[in-house]
């Protein structure tokens, strides 16, 4: 167990999101596994991250990359055994790395034994575990999430000859959370893993737990009731563990998921992410500052989770139509990149493999208020493959070196679970961990450095934020404060050199110390503080009064 017993450890976390399948294959079957992942813990520790978020590794027909679970108490044989998992977990804890796993509560696979039983007949004890209906007329008007593949939230089950409710794929029937047995079972599952030692859960698709007629069936009070119940039990039996909400909603609708500090500890800030990309393309800080202005205050014990990319498409659900069109036109001109109101690309290809922009975005990720998440492979600038279906293009094998299977596996390259990236720009011969480790100025080395700098001050994870609004709209500037510590972050969102005058009169007398090189900058006086920044450059300054 990590030695820090700080109950708010997640505020200082640097999370690394990884898919077991994609990271490292130890047994040569072409699929990553826990033993392989355990082998790479040294790399992760060296990178500087302190929390791992594992994507679903449960037994599953894998029709939704593991989010369709068929057994909550085991490990998919592709990835190893439960013992392998335990071994990995212990090894991670020894390296002071916490582990968060997925908890897909909203639905199961239709291959799950529960559903197999539930569909058998209306008298079955598990009948009420899912949401059945004779007609598909109930909950009319509720939006469809996977618009590219589904055209209804009801699916016809030929076995029980009734409809069942599914907010996602039709092979993922929704569980019925009005049933207390279901809720108890969910707790049992969580208890199982908590007892094993996991440090927290990412709860998938939480807004959709409960349905009610005449509503959007999202964010209902009853859903919050379920969460509160789980949280209460968690606090009682497993204090110091963390719940992270996946709720793709506007900030005002996300706020209830924190409750009064009695629901989730953390939640993803979905609306901010596309606006960071938008601000970069527009060369205007407006999208970023506006969304953060509209972000409500959350309880002190709670935390936002920030990310640039993840395993899903870059979602454009929480933007206006005009903004979506703009993002499509600027970032996904090729329609094959678009999916489900989003863009399915990795970070580096989205930013045209521009090292400066990649650094800038990571700089924002690490300095805006919240806990940052790094998606595996983005620390070396991995590319994607839009020709793999669904969102698999961003889930290709991790590129460790330029040799056999990119060091991912010893199997035949053709037998890998997904093809390696091969093109001359992003191919594994060019983009891989080994070559970047040997290069002191590689992206990987830079990521290690920025994580180090971030961890050097608690102000990033726990401090307040106050935006400055210099007249030059291409400059994003804000002050982070925690107790006596003050940090000024200034970023140039444009492709050209900029000059900016900042109103720092309140901090008059402070000396600026740039945090990467630790060099001194002039003291703040009465006049506006003039800074010049190169294209896409950013500064972090610690303010010191001596």
């Amino acid at each position: 167990m990590p030695t820090e017993t700080d109950a708010l450890w997640y505020k200082d976390a640097i999370i690394y999101q990884v898919h077991v399948r994609a990271f490292c294959d130890s047994n040569g079957d072409g699929i990553g596994d826990f033993r392989g992942l355990e082998q790479k813990l040294g790399y992760l520790q060296d990178l500087g991250i302190n929390t791992l978020w594992l994507m679903p590794f449960f037994p599953s027909p894998l029709r939704d990359d593991g989010y369709d679970i068929a057994d909550y108490f085991s490990v998919h044989p592709n990835y190893g055994t439960l013992e392998d998992f335990k071994s990995f977990l212990d090894a991670a804890h020894q390296r002071k790395i916490r582990v968060i796993i997925e908890m897909v509560m909203n639905h199961t696979s239709d291959q799950h034994p529960w559903f197999q039983e539930s569909r058998k007949s209306t008298d079955n004890p598990r009948r009420d575990w899912y949401v059945w209906s004779d007609t598909d007329a109930r909950y009319r008007g509720v939006r469809i999430i996977f618009v590219d593949t589904e055209n209804s939230n009801w699916a016809w089950d030929p076995i029980s000859k009734t409809h069942y409710w599914h907010r996602f794929f039709s092979h993922q029937p929704d569980l019925n959370f009005d049933n207390p047995v279901v809720r108890q079972e969910m707790w049992n599952i969580m208890k199982f893993w908590l007892e094993m030692g996991v440090d927290g859960f990412r709860l998938d698709a939480v807004p959709y737990l409960v349905e009610r007629e005449g509503t959007s069936c999202e964010n209902l009070p009853e859903t919050h009731g379920v969460i509160k119940e789980l949280r209460a039990k968690l606090d009682q039996y497993f204090p110091g563990k963390m719940l992270l909400a996946e709720a793709n909603q506007w900030p005002a609708d996300l706020r209830p998921y924190f409750g009064n500090g009695d629901e989730f500890h953390m939640a993803f800030h979905f609306p901010l992410m596309p606006r960071m990309f938008m601000g970069l393309k527009l060369e205007d800080r407006k999208p970023i500052t506006e969304i953060l202005q509209q972000t409500p205050n959350i309880p002190d014990v709670c935390q936002w989770c920030l990310f640039l990319r993840n395993h899903d498409e870059l979602t454009l659900e929480m933007v206006t139509d005009m903004e979506r069109d703009y993002m499509y036109d600027e970032y996904a001109r090729d329609k094959s990149m678009r999916l489900n109101l989003g863009i399915r690309r990795r970070l580096a290809p989205l930013l045209d493999n521009d090292r400066r922009r990649i650094e800038l975005m990571n700089g924002l990720l690490m300095s805006l208020p919240g806990t940052p998440i790094i998606y595996y492979g983005d620390e070396i600038g991995m590319g994607d493959n839009v020709y793999l279906g669904d969102r698999n293009g961003v889930r290709t094998p991790m590129q460790w070196d330029g040799g056999w299977d990119a060091g991912f596996s010893s199997a035949d390259p053709e037998s890998l679970y997904a093809a390696l990236i091969l093109n001359p720009i992003y191919g594994y011969q060019v983009v891989n961990v080994q070559s970047q480790r040997r290069t002191p100025h590689s992206l990987l080395s830079w990521m290690r450095r920025i994580i180090q700098v971030r961890k050097s001050s608690a102000v990033f994870g726990r401090g307040s934020i106050e935006f400055l609004y210099p007249e030059n709209h291409r400059i994003l500037a804000y002050i982070r404060r925690l107790g006596g510590e003050t940090v000024l972050a200034v970023s140039n969102l444009s492709n050209s050199a900029q000059a900016v005058e900042l109103d720092l009169r309140r901090y008059k007398g402070n000396i600026l110390i740039e945090m990467f090189g630790r060099n001194l900058f002039p003291r703040i006086g009465d006049l506006p503080y003039l800074l010049t920044l190169g294209p896409y450059q950013f500064y972090w300054f610690r303010l010191r009064r001596l």
């Binding site: 407006k286 005009m322 703009y326 709209h473 000059a499």
Partner: protein, 421 residues
């Protein structure tokens, strides 16, 4: 005069320009005590820019001549910046809207120069100037800016829906003379609302004409003429009815000094251009054909005739040094006939104007006085026009204006002859 040019951008304005950096579209708004209307105008401009140029970098610059009624504050308040907690998620970008006081006396010339200088520094691709008292609509942004932004035009002049008796100075002198001499049928050469390209702005700034036009009057006409003479691509676009509360000089003398004076002065400057032109160039006109309104309008015709007669009588010694003997005799004759028989025919009017233009060039007396001497004669012409068109339709009026244009063209050699004397 170099010094005056350097100081047209105040430090504060320059700082604001640095912050804005670069824009695709700049809208200029010259003001002086327009608090009544400027707030609404800025909102409409903003709406137009958001609608037609949502992804472009845009800015609104208010060049103010020193208003005491809070005009500048109203303009600043309209800025869509993220500094105000504005929940306007409709706008993708920050739209800068800033106001600056230009040095010196309030004058449209200086305001326009400030706007041009800002356009040049901001590397704006397309710009427009909107009068704070016009009947502006969001669509104006599209029709005035798009041609310069995407279609390579340099100057977009407006065409308004006018009453047949409105703007007589334009229809009876400025338009036909500009068309005849410069070969360019720009209907409203003295326009308060127009569009132009960044290219043209850069050209204007190098023109000497700014330095010569010390008071900055008649700047709008200067711009139009410079665009025509410089061989730039022009377009006309229909904007609808002209603003009724236009800050027109109530004084005809001032109006004529600003317009006719500028026009006459330009003849000297651009002699090599207009003397060589022999035919009209076609100018693209977009939008509804200018409809002429014909609702009844109250006019004091008698007063016009009386002032004409008075003018011809009292100013005879002055007129005799300006006009030819024949023209003056004809004028004296018409000054003495009955009201109903009075007519200031096209040919006579054209000759009058041309003789005045030539005298202006030779400066037979003070040029200012030459323009003032023309005023009562114009009144006579206006009277004649009003009399003739009491009952006519819009189409007939247009035909008469066309005939007048042709008369100006026909007598162009006469002007050239007078010029060379």
């Amino acid at each position: 005069m170099r010094l005056a040019e350097e100081s047209i951008l105040s430090d504060q304005l320059l700082r604001q320009l640095i912050s804005v950096g670069e824009v695709d579209v700049l809208i200029g708004l010259p003001t002086h005590n327009n608090a009544e209307t400027v707030g609404q105008v800025v909102q409409v401009i903003r709406a137009g820019l958001l609608k037609y140029f949502p992804r472009e970098r845009t800015a609104i610059l208010n060049a103010d001549g020193g208003s005491h009624d809070g005009t500048q504050d109203l303009v600043q308040a309209a800025s869509i910046s993220d500094a105000r907690n504005s929940h306007t998620l409709q706008a993708l970008r920050t739209m800068h809207c800033f106001s600056s006081r230009y040095p010196g006396e309030p004058s449209t010339g200086t305001a326009l120069r400030t706007i041009m200088a800002a356009a040049d520094l901001l590397r704006a691709r397309a710009c427009a100037v909107i009068s704070p008292e016009s009947n502006v609509a969001p669509e104006w942004m599209e029709v005035l800016v798009r041609p310069a932004y995407q279609q390579d035009f340099d100057f977009i002049a407006p065409v308004y829906c006018r009453h047949k008796f409105e703007g007589l100075l334009v229809t009876n002198l400025l338009y036909p003379m500009t068309r005849a001499l410069y070969g360019c049928p720009i209907r409203e050469p003295y326009a308060a609302d127009f569009g132009f390209s960044g290219r043209l702005a850069a050209h204007f700034l190098t023109e000497d004409s700014w330095q010569q036009d010390v008071s900055g009057r008649g700047a709008e006409l200067s711009l139009t003429l410079a665009a025509i003479a410089g061989g730039f691509r022009l377009q006309q676009t229909f904007l609808g009815p002209k603003g009724t509360a236009e800050r027109q000089p109530a004084d005809l003398v001032l109006a004529m000094r600003q317009t006719v004076g500028t026009l006459f002065a330009s003849l000297g400057r651009y002699f090599s251009n207009w003397s060589a032109i022999t035919e009209d160039q076609a100018v693209v006109t977009i939008g509804a054909d200018n409809q002429v309104a014909t609702h009844p309008m109250r006019v004091n015709r008698k007063r016009l005739l009386q002032m004409f007669r008075n003018g011809v009588g009292e100013l005879e010694p002055i007129l005799s040094s300006i006009l030819s003997h024949g023209t003056l005799e004809e004028l004296k004759h018409f000054a003495s006939v009955q009201e109903e028989e009075f007519q200031y025919a096209d040919e006579l009017w054209v000759k009058t104007v041309y003789e005045f233009a030539a005298s202006y060039q030779h400066a037979v007396i003070s040029r200012n006085h030459i323009i003032q001497a023309l005023v009562p004669l114009f009144r006579g012409r206006a009277y004649s026009f009003l009399l003739r068109n009491r009952e006519t339709s819009g189409v007939e009026v247009e035909q008469q204006i066309e005939n007048l244009c042709q008369a100006f063209e026909r007598l162009k050699p006469y002007l050239l002859e007078l010029w060379k004397k």
